[in-house]
């Protein structure tokens, strides 16, 4: 097994790769920060036009849409680097001559690399969490209507009755039962509201429904919308942030370990990084959704699909949206147990391949 000194010096070696570290920081931390800073500035300049910088929606989209994929790519790049540079830079020979087990030399890279990539992901994720909580909107915009957040079902119904016009003219509603009222755009609130037709333009026989009837209808609409409303929040909950953070770290750790094994196996970084990019950016999104009956079990072996199935439920589906025939999020279905087993298998197999290649390679 590697000694603590081997791990710390390996950590030092990777940390001092300035170009790689800057690239990782720029992608994993810089991209979300730039996005959030632009939103913060825009909101500060004109809060009526530009929504708040943070909030629940920003958090979920930023983590699932940006940090997930870029975290994996940068982790894989670090792994490929750690797995190949001793060989390409001529240090492998010096290390072998020390008499230290080659497998121990390989394993020293794992905690060193993980410490770097998980720290960087943690920094980026923490910034996203802080901005999304601190700069969260103060009111919830539901179907274009500003509504209080976190209402119970009865409170939501009461709100609907009190704001019948906004609810009827803005909320989605699917039913054969309808109410015939004219809606118009309110310039002050930017919401739809019930208009008052003049006598010339009013349809023949039109009469405005009573207030009670409008309130009853608004409550009916509210009841249909509550399940959707209840999933919308001003800011992410602590539980969601913890689950999302762990999920992102898991994805980064997988990327690093697979990259490390592949880099060690190939003995060079560039080809290994290209393979990892093609796998994650092109192959996985395609194969995670394409239902190929003869290959379905092989497709279930994709580590990207497995991590997608471990995604916190509140986040949007990774690898883009759209619905497929297999499940609600379009991904090929897979149980959580299978997903966990696939991830473990990928880590074990790639680590074993990398370590074995290092142990048997001519130095």
């Amino acid at each position: 097994m590697p000694t603590w000194g081997m791990i710390t010096t390996r950590f030092m070696e990777l940390r001092r790769r300035r170009g790689l570290l800057i690239a990782m920081l720029a992608v994993v931390v810089g991209l979300p920060v730039i996005f959030l800073v632009v939103r913060l500035v825009a909101h500060a300049v004109d809060p009526k036009v530009y929504a708040a910088a943070g909030g629940y929606d920003i958090f979920t989209n930023l983590t699932a849409g940006v940090m997930y994929i870029f975290g994996f790519i940068m982790a894989a790049t670090l792994g490929c680097t750690a797995g190949s540079v001793d060989l390409t830079e001529g240090m492998f020979r010096h290390l072998v001559v020390t008499g230290r087990s080659r497998v121990a030399l390989y394993f020293a890279r794992i905690p060193a690399g993980l410490a770097i990539i998980t720290s960087i992901v943690a920094v980026g994720f923490t910034i996203v969490c802080v901005v999304c909580c601190v700069a969260a909107p103060r009111s919830l915009s539901y179907d274009g209507v500003t509504v209080p957040a976190g209402m119970s079902s009865s409170a939501f119904n009461t709100y609907a009755a009190d704001h019948a016009g906004a609810v009827i003219c803005n909320f989605n509603y699917r039913s054969n039962v309808n109410i015939n009222v004219p809606c118009e755009y309110d310039r002050a609130t930017h919401e739809g509201k019930i208009g008052v037709p003049n006598k010339k333009n009013a349809p023949p026989g039109f009469t405005m429904p009573s207030k009670q009837k409008l309130q009853n209808f608004a409550v009916t609409i509210a009841k249909q919308n509550y399940s959707t409303y209840s999933k919308e929040f001003l800011s992410p909950s602590n539980g969601l942030m913890i689950r999302t953070g762990l999920w992102l770290e898991l994805e980064a750790a997988i990327g690093f370990l697979v990259g490390l094994g592949l880099g060690s196996l190939l003995g060079q970084r560039t080809v290994a990084v290209i393979i990892m990019l093609v796998y994650e950016v092109i192959l996985t999104p395609l194969l995670a959704r394409a239902h190929i009956s003869h290959l379905i079990n092989a497709q279930r072996g994709l580590v990207g699909l497995a991590t997608a199935h471990l995604e916190p439920a509140a986040l949007p589906a990774v690898f883009g949206g759209g619905n497929g025939p297999q499940s609600g999020n379009g991904l090929i279905p897979e149980t959580r147990l299978v997903a966990v087993l696939v991830i473990v298998a990928w880590i074990v197999v790639w680590t074993a391949l990398g370590a074995r290649r290092m142990a048997t390679r001519d130095a």
Partner: protein, 324 residues
């Protein structure tokens, strides 16, 4: 084809009189036999030169000894430890430079040594400063390796060797890239390491340096060791050459024919070179002088030529003929 590497070594681990011991060591690359049944014995506490022309298999043998690549057949031990069975224990007291020393360019010399020291025993970390000091790199230890010259990387490679307080150092072309002063310092350092009781195996093309530095040598060609032993003993087996500057160079050949002496005579620039077999005595040289004078030839100079390792090496390797 089945090849095995016998890991049994007769001497107890770590107590052999030999620093390096190989028997029938063989390494193939396809049809090419890079190391061909090598029998090598390097005594402890000496500087040992390992000589051979390009492609003779010098570096391959070193790589096999150090476990950088596997052997196809034969046995080997370092410091009495069978390799590869006890490779970790053997290499713990071995330092080596193989080919051009290369390091992580983005790190300083000191940081590179820290990585290597961490892979050795804990005490190695405490030897970083002294190792850098010994190779004269202390003042440049905190400069990135990318800014090092070839000679500085060589020195850093030697410093890396010293981290393990080695009993055996295997240096592959350590003079490469060094200026004359650097070569002189390297030679002194090797001699001082030997004076401390360490064994230094030196692979080099620089025969003059090897002759000045080493006590014993082995000559390798096409994977085979063709000679090995103490330099003085090997050179004593070389031909005796006498240069004669005289008034009638062309008549020397006829005179020697009349003496029934087994000699080869060459004349260049009016100087006669007489090459006689190993074991020719000083009396025989005096007899040649006497006959020349008695024959009316004026002898201006008669000088035995000291055989150098280089001339002996060329003589030995020239007998091998063209590659098959």
């Amino acid at each position: 084809m089945t090849m095995t590497v016998d890991e049994s070594i007769s001497a107890p681990a770590g107590e052999s009189q030999w620093a390096v011991e190989t028997h029938g060591l063989t390494k193939r690359f396809g049809d090419n036999v890079a190391v061909n049944g090598v029998e090598l014995l390097v005594p402890r506490g000496c500087a040992f030169g390992y000589l051979g022309p390009n492609g003779a298999g010098k570096t391959t043998l070193i790589r096999v000894l150090l476990g950088l690549t596997h052997a196809d057949a034969g046995t080997m031990s370092l410091l009495g430890y069978s390799v590869p069975k006890h490779r970790d224990r053997a290499l713990a007291r071995v330092g080596a430079i193989v080919d051009e020393p290369r390091f992580h360019g983005h790190l300083t010399g000191r940081q590179n040594l820290q990585i290597l020291a961490a892979a050795r025993e804990p005490a190695a970390k405490g030897r970083i400063e002294s190792s850098l000091d010994r190779v004269g790199m202390l003042s440049r230890a905190d400069v990135k390796v990318t800014k090092y010259s070839m000679g500085m990387r060589q020195r850093l490679g030697v410093a890396a060797c010293l981290l393990g307080d080695p009993q055996l150092l295997i240096l592959d072309e350590p003079m490469n890239g060094l200026d004359p002063a650097g070569m002189h310092e390297m030679r002194d350092m090797i001699l001082s390491l030997v004076a401390e009781g360490r064994t230094v195996v030196l692979s080099s093309h620089l025969l003059d340096e090897v002759e000045r530095t080493c006590d014993a040598v082995a000559i390798v060609d096409r994977g085979n060791i063709i000679r090995q032993g103490p330099i003085a003993q090997l050179l004593s087996g070389a031909d005796v050459v006498v240069q004669i500057d005289c008034s009638a160079p062309d008549g020397v050949s006829a005179l020697l024919a009349g003496m029934n002496v087994d000699a080869r005579v060459e004349v260049a620039n009016d100087v006669v070179s007489v090459t006689m077999p190993t074991g020719t005595t000083r009396d025989a040289v005096a007899e040649i002088n006497r006959r020349l004078v008695e024959g009316g030839t004026s002898v201006y100079r008669l000088q035995p030529v000291q055989v150098s390792l280089e001339s002996w090496f060329l003589e030995v390797t020239s007998r091998l003929g063209a590659p098959e």
